[in-house]
Symmetry: C2
Subunit: 243 residues, 2 copies
DNA sequence: GTGGTTCAATGGTCCAACCAATTTCTGCAC
DNA sequence: GTGCAGAAATTGGTTGGACCATTGAACCAC
C-alpha cells in the first residue's frame, strides 16, 4: 500500500536559479575565489527578477558556498556541483560546556574511525605530509611552551584528509569554529592540551605501521585527555557565568 | 499577540532580523511546528522592508530551521536560540557509489559511538521507545517480506536520540536523504537490507543490558552487512549508467 | 455529510527606484 | 610620466508597492 505520489512542483524558481547557476559554474570551470556574474546580469539572463536571484544567492551564502561583497561582487567560496547534498547542522547553545562536550563526542567517533582508515589507506605522500605537520607541531610546542593549537589542528586535518573520505574533513572543519572559540579561552586550565601532546606521535606511528586498531586506540586516548581537560575547565567555570 | 519585536537599528539588517526573531521565539517559548508571525507583520514591527524579512527567513529556511508554506504561513521546524552554532555541510557528487560508501563510513563511525553511548545513558523511557520501534520494524519486516526501510530508519533514529547528544541525530538525519534515495532503488539487489535485520535486536539487547562495547560491536556488524549489500549492488550497476 | 464556491490571508515573484560600499576612471599638480 | 584626490560607475543592500498562486476557512447548495 505504498502510495508513492510525490507532490508535484509547479513553482520553484529560486531552486531553478541555483540549478542553472551550478551548471554555469561547472561549464565555466569556476573555482573558489572566482567572481560570478552580478545579480543584475543573472536576473536579466535567467529572465527572473533580481529579488529571486537574491533569494537564491542568499541560500548559497547561508550554506557557505558563496561570499557577497557589497560594491565588489559575489565570489565562490567552495566548489559547487549540480548534485550536491547539503547538511545544515545547528547546535543550540553552542557556547556552553554541554555543547562543547557534544561536539567532542562527535569528534571522538570520527577521529578514531579516520585514524583507522588512514592507517589502511595512507600512501607514501600522505604519510610524509602528516609527518611534516607533526614535526611542525612538535617544534611549535617546544618553542612556544604548549601553545600549538594551530599546528595541532593542521595535524588532525592532514590525518582526516589522508583517510580517503572527504566527509571526515568537512564535518570536522565545520565544527572547528566551536573548538577554536574554546581553545582561545581555555577556561583557566593553564596547561590545556598538554596531556594530548604525546599521542599525536603515537597515532602517527600506528598509521605509518599500517596498524588500524592501534591508531584507533591512540586516537581514543588523545580524545580522552581532551575530555579530561574539558571537565577540569568546567569545574573552574562553575563560579563565573560567561555571557 | 504581545507587542514584542522592537524596531531594528543598525546595518546588517537581515542578521539583526534573525537575532530579533530568535529572541522573540525564545520569549514566546515557541516550539517546533508552531507558526510564527507573517512576513508582513514582521516587516511592520521591525520597521524593515518585507524583502529584508524574506532574506532573513530564506537563510533560516536554508538552514532547515523553518518551513514556509505558501498561503499558510511560516512554521518552526527546529528549536532555535540566539546563540546557535551553524555548521552547513555540502558534499559534492553524492549520487554515485563512491559518495554512498563515503557516507556509510561516516555512518559506521557515528552509529557505533551512538550505540555505545546509548547503552550507557538510555533510561527506561528511551529503552521503551527503542523497543517499540524495534517491534514495529520486525512486524513490518514479516508482513511486507523485508520491505521495512521506513521502520528500520525510525529504529536507528530512536537510538541516536537516546544517545543524549542531538548532534548524532542531526548529522545522520542530514544524510538520510542520500540513503533514502538509494533505498528506493536497491541496485537490483532483491534482498537488500535483509542481512542487517537480526542485528537490530542484538543491538537493542546490548543497549538494554547497558553493555556499551557489545552495542558498539553489534552496530559495526550491522553496518558491515549494509556495506556488503552495497558492494554487491555496485557490481550489478557496472553496466547501467543511471540518470 | 459531500462537494463546490467565495474570499481573505499568506508566501512567491516582480518592478523601479534609491542607499552604501567598493572599484575604476579622470584630471590636476608636480 | 607619476601620484593622488575626487568624481563616476559598478555592485550588493534596502525599500515600497504591486500582483500572482496557494491555502484554508466560511458558506452554500444538494
Amino acid at each position: 500500500m505504498t502510495d508513492l505520489l510525490p507532490p508535484i512542483q509547479t513553482t520553484a524558481r529560486d531552486d531553478a536559479v541555483l540549478k542553472a547557476l551550478a551548471g554555469f559554474v561547472r561549464q565555466e570551470a569556476l573555482g573558489p575565489g572566482e567572481k560570478l556574474p552580478t545579480e543584475r546580469i543573472l536576473a536579466e539572463r535567467l529572465k527572473v527578477s533580481r529579488n529571486t536571484v537574491r533569494e537564491a544567492l542568499t541560500r548559497w551564502e547561508g550554506l557557505g558556498l558563496v561570499e557577497r561583497r557589497q560594491g565588489s561582487g559575489t565570489y565562490l567560496k567552495a566548489a559547487v556541483s549540480p548534485d550536491m547534498l547539503h547538511m545544515p547542522l545547528t547546535l543550540a547553545g553552542g557556547n556552553d560546556f554541554a555543547g562543547l562536550m557534544a561536539t567532542l563526542e562527535i569528534r571522538r567517533a570520527l577521529e578514531a574511525e579516520a585514524a583507522a582508515l588512514c592507517a589502511i589507506r595512507a600512501g607514501k605522500a600522505e604519510l610524509a605530509e602528516i609527518e611534516r605537520k607533526l614535526d611542525l607541531m612538535e617544534e611549535a610546542f617546544q618553542t612556544r611552551d604548549g601553545m600549538s593549537s594551530e599546528e595541532d589542528w593542521e595535524f588532525h586535518q592532514a590525518v582526516f584528509r589522508a583517510s580517503g573520505n572527504p566527509l571526515f574533513e568537512q564535518i570536522i572543519a565545520a565544527m572547528y569554529e566551536m573548538f577554536h572559540r574554546f581553545w582561545e579561552h581555555p577556561l583557566g586550565v593553564r596547561d590545556f592540551g598538554h596531556a594530548s601532546f604525546p599521542y599525536h606521535r603515537t597515532i602517527f606511528n600506528c598509521i605509518a605501521a599500517h596498524d588500524p586498531e592501534g591508531a584507533r586506540a591512540e586516537a581514543l586516548k588523545l580524545i580522552a585527555t581532551v575530555e579530561d581537560d574539558l571537565k577540569r575547565g568546567a569545574a573552574n567555570l562553575k563560579l563565573s557565568d560567561r555571557r
